[in-house]
C-alpha cells in the first residue's frame, strides 16, 4: 500500500501515455524500417521516399484517430445515444455520479446487447462518453448501476480514457499491420524474385528474417503492455468508484452479477476490449464448465479476474478522513498472494 493523491495519479497517467506513444513509435519504426529495407533489396530499388511516407502515415494515422477515437469506439461497439425519456434512470445515475466526482456530465450511450458490460471513452472530462449495454441496465438495481457508472466516471476523472483510447488506436494499427504482413509476406514468398546484383538475395533474406521476428514480437510486446496498463487502471477505477459512492458494496455486487454470467458480447473488437469494465469475451470470469479452476492472473488478459476485484472492493478501508488521499491499492505483485 502507498499513498497517492489524485493529482499525482493524473500526472503519472500523462507520463505513461507519453511513454507508451514513444515506445510504440520506436517499435513501429523498427518493424516498418525492416520491412521497407527488405522490399528494397527484393526489388533492387533504393530510395528514402518510402521511409518518409511511412513516417507521415504513422503520424497522420495517430492524429486522425486521436480526434475521431471517441466516435469510432462508440461506433465499433454499436453504441447509440440513450434516449433521455426511455433511459431516465441511466441519465439520472450518470448525473448523480457527475455531481459526486465534480465533473461535467458525459454523453450517455446504450448498446443493444444482453451481455452486461459498460465502457467510457473520450479525450478529456469535457469530451467524454459512457456507454452501457441493455443487459447491464436491466440487470442492475440502483446502487449497482451507481457503482458501474462511478467506475466509468473514475476512468474519465483519472484521465484514463485518453491513455486507453491511445492504446486502442495503436492496438488497431498493430492488428492491421500483423494481418497485412502475414498476407503480403505469403504473397511475396510465392512471387518471382526480381532482385539483381551480388549478395542482394542474402541481404534481402536477412532483412526478411529481422522483419519476421519483429512482426511476431511487436504485437506480443504491445499486447503485454496494454494488458498490464489496463489491469492496473481497472483496480484503480474500482477503488475510485468506491470512494465516489462511499459504497463499495454496490460495485462489488454489480461485478458479482457480471461475473455470474457467461455471455459474450455480439460485437467485440480486439482494439477496444480493454475499454470495458469486464472482458467482452468473458475472459475474466470463471468458466461454468470448470467452476473449481484456480483464480490466477494471466499476463495477457486486459482485465483482472473478477473475483479478485470483488475481494479487493470488500477489503477497502474508506474510513480515512482524507477524501482524495486514501490508500490506493498497489497494482501488480499482490495478486499472487490472493487465495
Amino acid at each position: 500500500m502507498r499513498r497517492r493523491t489524485l493529482y499525482g495519479m493524473i500526472a503519472a497517467n500523462r507520463w505513461r501515455t507519453f511513454g507508451f506513444i514513444l515506445l510504440f513509435a520506436v517499435i513501429l519504426a523498427l518493424v516498418g524500417g525492416a520491412v521497407i529495407r527488405f522490399l528494397q533489396y527484393y526489388y533492387g530499388v533504393y530510395s528514402l521516399i518510402p521511409y518518409v511516407l511511412f513516417g507521415f502515415f504513422i503520424v497522420g494515422y495517430n492524429i486522425i484517430f486521436f480526434f475521431t477515437a471517441k466516435k469510432l469506439a462508440l461506433f465499433a461497439n454499436g453504441a447509440r445515444r440513450a434516449d433521455p425519456a426511455e433511459y431516465k434512470r441511466l441519465h439520472n445515475v450518470v448525473e448523480e455520479m457527475a455531481i459526486a466526482s465534480g465533473q461535467p456530465k458525459p454523453e450517455v450511450y446504450i448498446i443493444h446487447d444482453p451481455a452486461p458490460n459498460a465502457f467510457a471513452t473520450g479525450r478529456n472530462p469535457r469530451n467524454a462518453a459512457i456507454a452501457v449495454t441493455t443487459g447491464l441496465y436491466e440487470m442492475m438495481d440502483r446502487a449497482e448501476l451507481q457503482g458501474v457508472v462511478a467506475h466509468e466516471m473514475s476512468h474519465i476523472r483519472n484521465h484514463d480514457i485518453l491513455l486507453m483510447t491511445i492504446v486502442a488506436i495503436m492496438i488497431g494499427l498493430v492488428v492491421l499491420a500483423r494481418d497485412l504482413f502475414w498476407r503480403w509476406g505469403f504473397f511475396l514468398g510465392r512471387g518471382r524474385r526480381r532482385s539483381s546484383g551480388k549478395g542482394g538475395g542474402y541481404l534481402a533474406l536477412i532483412w526478411l528474417a529481422i522483419g519476421l521476428v519483429l512482426a511476431i514480437l511487436a504485437p506480443l510486446a504491445v499486447m503485454l503492455i496494454r494488458a498490464a496498463i489496463s489491469r492496473q487502471r481497472e483496480y484503480l477505477a474500482d477503488a475510485s468508484a468506491a470512494m465516489m459512492t462511499r459504497n463499495p458494496e454496490g460495485l462489488a455486487r454489480a461485478l458479482e452479477k457480471i461475473g455470474s454470467t457467461f455471455q459474450k458480447m455480439h460485437r467485440t473488437s480486439t482494439a477496444t476490449a480493454h475499454l470495458f469494465i469486464s472482458s467482452p469475451k468473458c475472459k475474466d470470469r470463471p468458466d461454468p464448465k470448470k467452476p473449481q479452476a484456480k483464480v490466477k492472473v494471466n499476463l495477457f488478459s486486459s482485465h483482472p479476474p473478477i473475483q479478485l476485484r470483488v475481494e479487493r472492493l470488500r477489503g477497502l478501508n474508506l474510513s480515512s478522513p482524507y477524501a482524495r488521499q486514501f490508500e490506493w491499492p498497489r497494482t501488480e505483485g499482490k495478486e499472487s498472494m490472493a487465495p
Binding site: K88, R89, N92, V93, E95, E96, M97, I99, A100, S101, G102, D141, R142, A143, Q146, R246, N247, E249, G250, R253, P321, A323, R324
Partner: protein, 186 residues
C-alpha cells in the same frame, strides 16, 4: 554588488511563493463555492418538484393530510433558511417527510400505477441522491480548502488575504444511518 543580487533573488522568490500560495487558495475556495452552488441547484429542483407531487398524491389519497402538510412545511422551512445549519436541518426534515409520504403511497395501488407519480418518484429519488452526492463533494472540497488555510504556509496567506473557513454541511447521526444501502437478497 553580489549582496544586492542575492537580496533581489530572495525578494523574487518570496513574491513567487506568495503568488503560488495565494492562487492555490483561490482555486480551492472557488471549487468549494461551486460545490455549494451545486447543492443549491439540487435543493431548488426538489422544492420545484414537491408541489407537483403533493397535487398528484392529493388526487388519490386526500385523507393523508398530515403527511402532505409535513412535506409542505418542511419545504417552506428549507426555502426560508438563511444559514447553512438551518438549511441542512430543514432539508433533512424534508427528506424524512418525503420518505414517509412514499411509504404511505405504498397503500394506494392506483397511485402507484400513475405514470406521473412514478416519474415524480424517480425524479425525487434522483434529486435526493444528487443532494447527498453534492453535499459529499461540498464537504470534501470544504475540508480540502479549510486544511489548506490552516496548514503552513497557507495559514499566512489565509490571514493576510482574509480567506475564511467554510462550514461543513452536517447531517444528524440517524439520517446518516438511514443512507446506508439497503441489503437486497437474491
Amino acid at each position: 554588488m553580489i549582496g544586492i543580487w542575492i537580496l533581489v533573488g530572495i525578494i523574487a522568490l518570496l513574491v513567487i511563493i506568495t503568488i503560488a500560495g495565494y492562487n492555490t487558495l483561490v482555486v480551492k475556495r472557488n471549487r468549494t463555492r461551486n460545490a455549494w452552488h451545486q447543492i443549491d441547484v439540487q435543493l431548488r429542483r426538489r422544492y420545484d418538484l414537491i408541489p407537483n407531487l403533493v397535487e398528484t398524491v392529493k388526487g388519490y389519497a386526500a385523507h393523508e393530510r398530515q403527511t402532505l402538510e409535513n412535506v409542505t412545511v418542511a419545504r417552506k422551512l428549507g426555502m426560508d433558511a438563511k444559514t447553512v445549519q438551518d438549511a441542512a436541518k430543514a432539508n433533512n426534515m424534508l427528506s424524512e417527510t418525503l420518505k414517509s409520504l412514499f411509504a404511505v403511497a405504498e397503500a394506494y395501488p392506483d397511485l402507484k400505477a400513475n405514470q406521473n407519480f412514478l416519474a415524480l418518484q424517480e425524479e425525487l429519488r434522483s434529486t435526493e441522491e444528487k443532494i447527498a452526492f453534492a453535499r459529499q463533494f461540498y464537504n470534501d472540497a470544504t475540508m480540502d480548502y479549510n486544511t489548506a488555510t490552516e496548514k503552513f504556509p497557507g495559514i499566512i496567506f489565509a490571514s493576510i488575504f482574509a480567506f475564511r473557513r467554510f462550514e461543513f454541511w452536517e447531517i444528524p447521526e440517524e439520517a446518516e444511518a438511514a443512507r446506508e444501502p439497503v441489503k437486497v437478497e437474491f
